[in-house]
């Protein structure tokens, strides 16, 4: 045909030119820079904090910030994993209360509150983690095996687990915890609280696993396009099981650390945390649409929220206003990450 001869000649001239996707001669992909978007924000807040109150940059204060965020940071870690595979787990905050709650219920001696005193104190940690795993298995069973909507399943689970904790504790707080339960919340390793080390170590592991292992990359593949992931030979259901169960176990561990630090398990332990967790994850660049975001970003997200809170406290903002300001911070932080990230958030 005559027209193809004509168009062949022009076709080459208008071939699309590749877009600029890297800096420094291709050594740093632009996509990677987005992970660092929150670092300048944290630095700015730190400088403001130092100007507001010189206490801010003292080691004690920084350790305090890191310790108070370490438990909720583990929830962020868990939620980030679940979000990357395009699922949601609202029940994490209840798991954080119930898992150590059940352990305390079985271990705390009778006479002191609602304890049953059935098991020796050494069982507390295994029981806590087992409860976490069990919750994860039930969630995974309902979501993956039976194909129920993950949002509603975990919403139901959130309410059920909270109710179970209120039931076994009679709405009261468990005291007189065994020393094994107190250890993680109180121990000092190399001059810093153990919970900080655990939190940092787990994030480091998560960064490596999600960035540099086939298993970790399969999370992104599943969240990005589950059919394509299947076609590439990834066992998607197995990966989802692992992610959901691991998430719940992490929540149980976070609960253990919090109980240890407070030397008690309140029936409302973890209540309301999930909103901060979601906010931190999204601010940190984890997409609710799945397949996007890094663990480093998620860590920056929760760190930013806690640093701002700390600065407000140091600035002498009345405690009654902290709640309103927390919400405002989340909105502002989201707006900042929209500007620095440059993309519409899903």
């Amino acid at each position: 045909m005559p027209e193809t001869v004509v168009t062949d000649a022009t076709a080459k001239a208008v071939a699309p030119r590749p877009k600029r996707t890297a800096l420094l001669g291709g050594r740093i992909p632009l996509a990677r820079l987005r992970d660092l978007a929150l670092v300048p924000a944290i630095v700015v807040i730190a400088i403001v904090g130092q100007l507001v109150n010189p206490v801010f940059l003292q080691a004690d204060n920084l350790v305090n910030v890191l310790q108070t965020m370490s438990e909720i940071a583990l929830l962020v870690l868990a939620q980030a994993m679940v979000l990357i595979v395009k699922k949601m787990d609202l029940s994490l905050e209840s798991t954080m209360g119930l898992a150590p709650g059940v352990a305390a219920w079985l271990v705390v001696p009778t006479g002191a509150g609602h304890g049953l005193g059935l098991l020796p104190g050494a069982w507390a940690i295994p029981v806590t983690l087992a409860v976490g795993a069990l919750v994860g298995v039930v969630n995974a069973l309902l979501i993956i095996r039976f194909g129920l909507n993950g949002f509603i399943v975990t919403l139901g689970m959130l309410i059920v687990l909270r109710g179970v904790l209120t039931g076994i504790s009679g709405g009261q707080t468990f005291f007189q915890l065994p020393s094994s339960m107190l250890y993680l919340g109180t121990a000092q390793w190399f001059g810093m609280p153990a919970s900080i080390w655990i939190c940092l170590a787990l994030f480091a592991v998560a960064i490596v696993v999600l960035g540099w292992t086939s298993f970790g990359r399969s999370l992104y593949a599943i969240g990005g396009n589950v059919d394509a992931a299947k076609a590439a030979g990834i066992r998607t259901d197995r990966v989802l099981w692992i992610v959901i169960v691991t998430g719940s176990v992490l929540a149980a561990l976070a609960g253990l650390m919090l109980s240890g630090r407070l030397a008690s398990v309140a029936s409302a332990q973890g209540n309301g945390y999930i909103f901060t967790v979601f906010a931190a994850a999204v601010i940190g660049g984890i997409s609710l649409g799945g397949g996007k975001g890094t663990m480093f970003g998620a860590f920056c997200g929760i760190l930013l929220l806690f640093v701002i809170q700390n600065v407000l406290t140091l600035a002498g903002v009345p405690a009654q206003w902290i709640g309103a300001l927390n919400g405002l911070i989340i909105l502002v932080a989201l707006a900042i990450s929209r500007i620095t990230g440059g993309k519409v958030q899903e």
Binding site: P2, T4, V6, T7, K12, T21, W212, R217, A228, A229
Partner: protein
């Protein structure tokens, strides 16, 4: 039409390919039967594809092409029949790796992961591992770069795959298929979302790979493409094999007859002009300009006139059409629809002024897939369905029913979700909505993309009918068949209207104008 296979003359060996096409076909499927409940998707179908050829598979929607593809790629087992690759039987369904070494399919629906980079998509789940079993990203990138340059795909492996154009994505998917060792590739309607020059680049690529010994099965609704790129053609109709013949020996009319089971009407029949010069023009566009994509566009569409707006992708034709109906806001100039000037950038205003339109991509802008046919056809005319914002189901179903009849939409009833319809019928639903309010101006953007031959003729026939009732029609498309019935065709090139061609043009004149080439210079 004889229901037999014609004599197949063996292909001469390509000069620069060591592999002579031997007697063993790359793929041979015989006696395939596949049932889905009461529906028979394949009924004794067969196909034989020889090494090095580009084999076309054509048939109307529902002829069994997709089912054949999923059987040939090992996604589904046939109920009866056998598939062999190079003479040996097909691997077990669970053995995905073995399938991937034999055959790959580039689907219309993307199988890449948009959030990951090109390099990672290429080597997903088979990354290079360095020290300590961790992924070595430099090695992955290097291997991706090698792979892409080995098959001369000009894409940066570091680009997020979501930023690729459709064309680049197809090349990446082809490269990935080749990296598994497959030398037989199925292309499922690869040209559906490409513009003219991208199609030509794809065809160049196919020819190049063919010379390197890659065999293709090419599925397309565009018969012109079959004649351009393919050596052999197999026609399926109603789940059966109808004919296999060398393309050169099967004239177009016979091919269409094999597909439809009846002789097709001559597409080039003359259409009397229905332009009414006395009435207010249906559309008048003056000095229209948009943010860099087009500028200084001036034209009129008279009442009863059909005007084509042709141009390659990126020429601005789609943008101009979208501006007319208010999907975009113009930076300069004005749009008048039937004498009124609707508020720029407002679709409701354009509709109120008397416009009806078929958007570019029915999947994105045309349909709400889970809503019923009735809801979809009446989506733009809520005020005809009841008063004070309350909808009457009765009225809706009556209005929808009349439109289903008018456009011969094949559906068991107005309550069926529109996603259950075939491509051609979905497009009819979009068209029905455009016509729901008896528009004075009908704007169509790529109205027959991904639609089978018969539905296409039907849709274009409806357009003519609409013009006869005195409405003006603007067709923005680069599909020659869409433009053939236009009273005149305006050609856009790089954002400007460069020429106007009266009816009776030759294909090569129009294509040359769209590509910005002057044949008579």
């Amino acid at each position: 039409m004889s229901d037999g296979e014609r004599t197949v003359t063996p292909e001469p060996a390509p000069a620069d390919d060591g592999r002579a096409p031997s007697g063993t076909p790359v793929v041979e499927a015989t006696g395939l039967v596949k049932r889905f409940g009461p529906t028979v998707a394949l009924n004794g179908a067969r196909i034989t594809i020889r090494p090095g050829e580009t084999h076309a598979l054509v048939g109307r929607n529902g002829a069994g092409k997709s089912t054949l593809v999923s059987v040939l790629t090992g996604l589904q087992a046939p109920d009866e029949g056998t598939v062999t690759f190079g003479g040996s039987p097909a691997p077990r369904l669970a053995d995905r790796d073995a399938w991937r070494e034999r055959v790959a399919c580039v689907y219309q629906k993307s199988t890449i992961i948009p959030t990951l980079t090109v390099a990672e998509n290429l080597f997903l789940n088979r990354h290079d591992h360095g020290r300590g079993r961790l992924i070595s990203w430099p090695a992955v990138r290097r291997r991706a770069q090698e792979l892409l340059s080995a098959w001369s795909v000009d894409v940066d492996p570091q680009t997020p795959a979501g930023e690729l154009s459709v064309e680049q994505r197809q090349f990446v998917e082809i490269a990935r298929a080749l990296s598994f060792g497959a030398r037989f590739i199925i292309l499922d309607e690869p040209t559906a979302q490409l513009d003219g020059s991208a199609i030509n680049r794809l065809f160049d690529r196919i020819r190049g790979l063919q010379r390197q010994g890659v065999t293709f099965l090419f599925i397309s609704h565009h018969l012109q493409e079959v004649y351009e790129i393919c050596d052999m053609v197999t026609v399926f109709r109603d789940a059966r094999h109808i004919v296999t013949a060398p393309v050169a020996e099967l004239p177009r009319t016979e091919l269409v007859a094999a597909m439809t089971g009846e002789a097709a009407a001559d597409r080039l029949r003359a259409r009397p002009s229905t332009l009414d010069r006395t009435a207010t023009p249906a559309l008048s566009v003056r000095a229209l300009g948009g943010d860099g994509t087009y500028g200084d566009v001036t034209f009129q569409v008279g009442a009863g006139e059909i005007v084509g707006l042709a141009g390659a992708a990126g020429s601005g034709r789609t943008e101009v059409a979208e501006t007319v109906v208010g999907l975009r806001t113009a930076a300069a100039g004005e749009v008048r629809i039937a004498g009124r000037r609707p508020r720029p950038g407002s679709v409701p205003a354009a509709l109120a002024a008397g416009a009806g339109f078929v958007p570019q991509d029915r999947h994105h802008q045309g349909l709400v897939p889970e809503m019923s046919v009735a809801d979809n056809t009446t989506l733009s005319v809520p005020r005809r369905l009841g008063r004070n914002g309350f909808l009457s189901r009765d009225r809706r179903d009556r209005l929808a029913g009349s439109m289903i009849e008018k456009l011969a939409i094949k559906t068991p009833g107005p309550g069926l979700p529109v996603s259950a319809l075939s491509g051609g019928n979905q497009q009819k639903v979009v068209m029905a909505r455009a016509l729901a309010d008896d528009p004075k101006l009908l704007v169509l953007i790529n109205p027959t993309a991904g639609v089978d031959v018969r539905s296409k003729e039907f849709l274009l026939g409806k357009v003519e009918e609409t013009a006869r009732t005195g409405a003006g029609v603007l067709i923005a498309s680069d599909e020659l068949d869409d433009l053939r019935m236009c009273d005149r065709v305006l050609v856009m090139f790089q954002g400007r209207v460069t020429s106007e061609i009266a009816r009776g043009w030759h294909d090569h004149d129009l294509v040359a104008a769209m590509e910005g080439v002057d044949l008579h210079a």
